[in-house]
Symmetry: D3
Subunit: 130 residues, 6 copies
Amino acid sequence: MASVKLIEYAEATTEVRAVYDDILATRKIDDVNNFWKALASHPPTLRRTWETLKSVMAPGALDPLTKEMVYLAVSTTNGCDYCIASHTASARRQGMTDEMLGELMAVVGMANETNRLANGYQVEIDEVYR
Amino acid sequence: MASVKLIEYAEATTEVRAVYDDILATRKIDDVNNFWKALASHPPTLRRTWETLKSVMAPGALDPLTKEMVYLAVSTTNGCDYCIASHTASARRQGMTDEMLGELMAVVGMANETNRLANGYQVEIDEVYR
Amino acid sequence: MASVKLIEYAEATTEVRAVYDDILATRKIDDVNNFWKALASHPPTLRRTWETLKSVMAPGALDPLTKEMVYLAVSTTNGCDYCIASHTASARRQGMTDEMLGELMAVVGMANETNRLANGYQVEIDEVYR
Amino acid sequence: MASVKLIEYAEATTEVRAVYDDILATRKIDDVNNFWKALASHPPTLRRTWETLKSVMAPGALDPLTKEMVYLAVSTTNGCDYCIASHTASARRQGMTDEMLGELMAVVGMANETNRLANGYQVEIDEVYR
Amino acid sequence: MASVKLIEYAEATTEVRAVYDDILATRKIDDVNNFWKALASHPPTLRRTWETLKSVMAPGALDPLTKEMVYLAVSTTNGCDYCIASHTASARRQGMTDEMLGELMAVVGMANETNRLANGYQVEIDEVYR
Amino acid sequence: MASVKLIEYAEATTEVRAVYDDILATRKIDDVNNFWKALASHPPTLRRTWETLKSVMAPGALDPLTKEMVYLAVSTTNGCDYCIASHTASARRQGMTDEMLGELMAVVGMANETNRLANGYQVEIDEVYR
């Protein structure tokens, strides 16, 4: 059970509804997910987090699918169950196939492995990388 | 200083040289970096790690630059200095611009932030994501 | 299911009961929680962990609520579900409001984000901080 | 060496200077630190990060010193050297004594320890915490 | 629910069955566990992961029980529930007693604690360790 | 530079000297390392940490070398440079060879990899492990 009361649209303040409305319109969905309903317990965090997310995940020098896969790579590394579930769904909607997920997970696994080999052997950074 | 003696090409066994030769040929470089010279202290780890890396990072459903950026996202999340330095260099060689790095870091930062908001508020996974 | 049999008071040895009694008296509660019942499978760990916790969380230069919120910040960063649940409850008992939890999570999220921005850009420590 | 060119005030664009000016005025200092000079390589990240930080760390339901100590607790858990150095300095400026740092580190260490005991024993969350 | 369809033996391709057969024969079991059924969604990852695991966990300079306990120590530190459950079971099969698990967890907890004390106090590496 | 003044033996209080004396006698060395000199800035943490470490690392159901390798596995996973350096030295003193270190790092790398594969694919725990 969440640490705070989830705020449904019907009971939300005007400030919270404004954010919910923008999420619903931007994502063309009918209901915001639990993450936003929990953040709504602290309206400044709700507003800031949504505005930053909307801006950071918009198409730019990197396309939205690449961004979703990076998000999933980080969430997988941190073991955040909620984030893995929601961002796998988002990446699927953006076109991620099983083959792409397979390659993504292979890179994530490999990076987590070699990060520790570099740590454990205390490898010094080569001059060429400085 | 590394935990083990770094093995230079001149002093390497035939088994280690075979891996070094493949790294040099695949990457079209003149010397392997310290990471491989440290792994050479345990030849089975050197061989397996190189073979897996070569295979995992090859073009597939995801292109090599996307894979390098995912590698960098994981290494940044884990705070592995060696890996951040070497994979930033690899991604730059593959064409990553300051703008792309900026967007990559913005997504990595955002994911690390929202992973903790989801954790801390103990948000339950929505039915729609199950 | 826990990896070990949870030890209930009725079946506990004298050594384990002595720790349970001190937990019950210190916290003014009727039953110890599952964490302690699991640690009781290894009495030296049970005793040491309780004694350290009791001492570390006592009022000192920092007040108990600040200490509980720091505990929650660390548990949130690590994604430990059990610890988040139990220390959210403890912090609530000490007076943490939704507003305080909101600000706490905002700081925890921000720190997790900027930790990665500093890592990923390989920012060198300014002379003034050394 | 940072992954990007550090942007000094003299060479900054108007957009970047506006952020630098706000940092200098808010903190009453003469030069921004390397973290901001690195973020300036991607102006949207510079602006968003500063605005969020300024807002999140302002006095509220939690006082600024408590917020700095929470920031330090997270940075310590993640092992971010840059962040530990800069936020230790900030917390010292806000009045953190050796005694307070000692108690803070004792809580951080304890939380990191018990997070793993709860994980490793697979302790189920008590009904009372749900 | 897993992100991918779990592949049962009856529906597996020849390539996947070959890996499953080797797992079943090596471990003298009747069915592979969910981990392998999920990896089978990306056959190259299934094959590589199994081959590496089989080789890395085989008796060598370290015995299999020590290796399983190290695996459990890492999984506990990372908070990977699936891995903690499966490797606790494997270590139990190899002879790990409650007493050994208790000492293992005590070391894992202690290391996670002192890692943060060393980080937080920014302790410099002694000359003697370089 | 450490966050606190390192306390040398000559300037230590009687309370701190008593701990230093026990470290020197137990380890048969001439000077304590920087870790203890930093902890001495908060005597209760110094005393508790040393007493716990001394007890946890003593021979028991697990031998001291196994315990040192588990410590190194955790420190490597967390990327704690100080701890990796000092516990590699301790493990070497206890008899860890390059071959043993190679196998240890291979297990640590593999566990870090498969932890993320299990996370990322959201693999459910098999009934047999519950």
